[in-house]
Amino acid sequence: MTDIHTLHILNKTPEHPRSKACRDALQPGDALLLIESAVLALAAQSASESDVPVYALASDIVARGLGQCAREASLIDFPAMVDLTTRAQNVISW
């Protein structure tokens, strides 16, 4: 079952130009997965601007001391990340 059109996997900080390009590319039916430095977006003061489901790798969040501020994303582990890639028709690694 592919219930996600495109899974966007982002590993760049919010300042990185590709982060903006990724956000701009989000469309209804897509999902966003934050990994590595991209989880820092959850610490930045920003309204949750996207209408798509946002996931974030828990290990990257915990490593960066962000356990408390990750309310805007569903925290997942690697098995769940694998699962997300199987549910998506396309995957883009930004």
């Binding site: 079952m1 996997i9 590993n11 760049k12 900080t13 990185h16 990994i35 590595e36 430095s37 991209a38 790798l57 290990s59 582990d77 690697f78 098995p79 990340m81 694998v82 699962d83 890639t85 199987t86 995957v91 690694s93 930004w94």
Partner: protein, 138 residues
Amino acid sequence: MAANPIHSYTLVITGAPYSTQAPQTALSFARAAIAAGHTVDRVFLYGDGVHLASSLCTPPSDETHWPTEWSIFLTNNGIPGVACIASALRRGLVNESERKRYELSASNLLEPFIIAGLGEWVEGNTTSSRTLYFHAGG
């Protein structure tokens, strides 16, 4: 209809160990994919990612040795690890036959990695059901 269809993955790593998190994230992903019953068709190292296949990486003993971790994982699961030849030669990663061809002083390709062309990536792109990239962050 199976609730959880089996997928095949080509994983492309373009970030180098010890300068990016890419090889680590990719390894955790690959382990989870195998554990879930999926297959990893091949791991393709491109750009700075080829440094993962160097037999000369020597991190301090209390840090994870990512080339070794990857080497063991690939060997245990029979997954081909391919370093792009153009990326590899530019960055000083060579196997024995390239060493001879270019008359170099040493070879340094870690087993079971092999050196091959981008055709391996093209094949993965067309035959695997998913191709995932692990780039440098920043």
